[in-house]
Amino acid sequence: MSRSIPGFRLTLGITISWLSILVLIPLGGLFLKAGTIPPARILEVLTDARTLAAFRVSFGCAAVAALVNALVGPVVAWTLVRYRLPAHRLIDALIDIPFALPTAVAGITLTTLYAETGWIGKLLLPLGIKVSYSSLGIVIALIFVGLPFVVRTVQPVLEDFPVEAEEAAALLGASRWQTLFKVIFPALRPAILTGALLSFARCVGEYGSVVFIAGNMPYKTEILPLLIITNLEQYQYGEAAAIASAMLLVSFLLLILGNRLQSRLATKVSR
């Protein structure tokens, strides 16, 4: 408690004002707009087969991508923390590229790569695997977008992991594999979950990297943000607002649940 430092009112004023102007009032307007159409119509829009399919695509693909990153991310973090690779700093820097690369660039690049004539698509074609214009394509784009989150949350935890714990495990007769899975991995779980949640939150609403590779077929590869734009372009503002509001509510709910689970895991580990 240090109110002795001046600036409380000023910073409170600036923070609340900008937050209200830019975030709270516009988001409030969104929910109000959804309320301007009759409840029966809202229900009809939200339970429409096309809307439900888009919900499945957006949330499902984001979950799969988060899962893949939760599996591969810790391996990447492990390698970067424990081993010295040639051009180590450069390889480490690659992790930040999906963060810094504009999503539209990722979108057109991945689409071109995985198209039937593209560098990777050409190799997958004889195997009968189609990536561009399928939900597999959406998942790949989202893995790209979510890649930094798990790696960057697990890395610092692994760096701070006490060597003593590993030595104790070895003294007690554990093999390196046992130490890895029974001592190190459990300590990483909260960080992995945090990273996966961040990746999920980012991927649910992702648009630029997905819209090119998805093919955007209604009922199959149409994502929620695109459905919102489609409604907007047909001047169905209330409907667009209703879908957007529902989407926000569902993702906030999932994130709150995830954070609960995360804090429970974290207290278990620290005990």
Binding site: V23, P26, I97, L147
Partner: protein, 272 residues
Amino acid sequence: MSKAKLPDPPLLVGLSVAITLLFLGLMVVVPLASVFAQAFSKGIGVWWESVSNTDTLAAVRMTLLATLGSVPLNTVFGISAAWLVTKYRFPGRQFLLALIDLPFSVSPVIAGLIFVLLFGAQGWFGPWLQEHDLKIVFSWPGMILATAFVTFPFVARELIPVMDELGNQSEEASVMLGAGGWTTFVKVTLPAIRWGLLYGVILCNARAMGEFGAVSVVSGHIRGETNTLPLHAEILYNEYDFAGAFATASLLTLLAGATVALKLWLERKVRR
């Protein structure tokens, strides 16, 4: 770096290194290489023509305008928000922290939508704006607002952990010795947080210049007027002008490369 004194079994080392290199190679290196391969597929002449024609230059100008209009505002906000939540404890502080992070989990398309609903022709303020002959949506003010929304948390998020770690003793001492709030901030806090601040601004800048979904909704795609570089790349791509689209994409990729390089440089500075 390799602080593990216990030797890892070769299988573990081999497997983790192989997975890492394969994953990063396939997911990051190949796409990056492909951007430039496509951009220069018709020779450097076509690339130069694509990046220097009037439409592209107009897109560069719009991108810079949207960035310059949003990043400074979010920087001022980020500094005050970080000061507020790290220097004081007050009821609702946790809630405020959650609100600051909120735009991060809002889809960019929804970020664009909310400003269309407020300021569009059918929006809450639409009729009033039309009466006064003001245009926000499908014009540059809307582009700035949408960009600002999407990049809202970046500076605050970088600064809060940095300022938390530094603690408040220096500021308290400075105030005790008679310095005012502003002097304390400029002479005591700012020098200590400058690298964190710079990193936050760089991230905010990269996201602002590369934003796609939000500006796509509010732009109306008026070529030469409200097109930013990512939107320009989209239009060229949809017109099957792949060399042109990837030439524009190569500029944005260079921006991403510069962002990451600056980050490396800053990390080295902080470590010293």
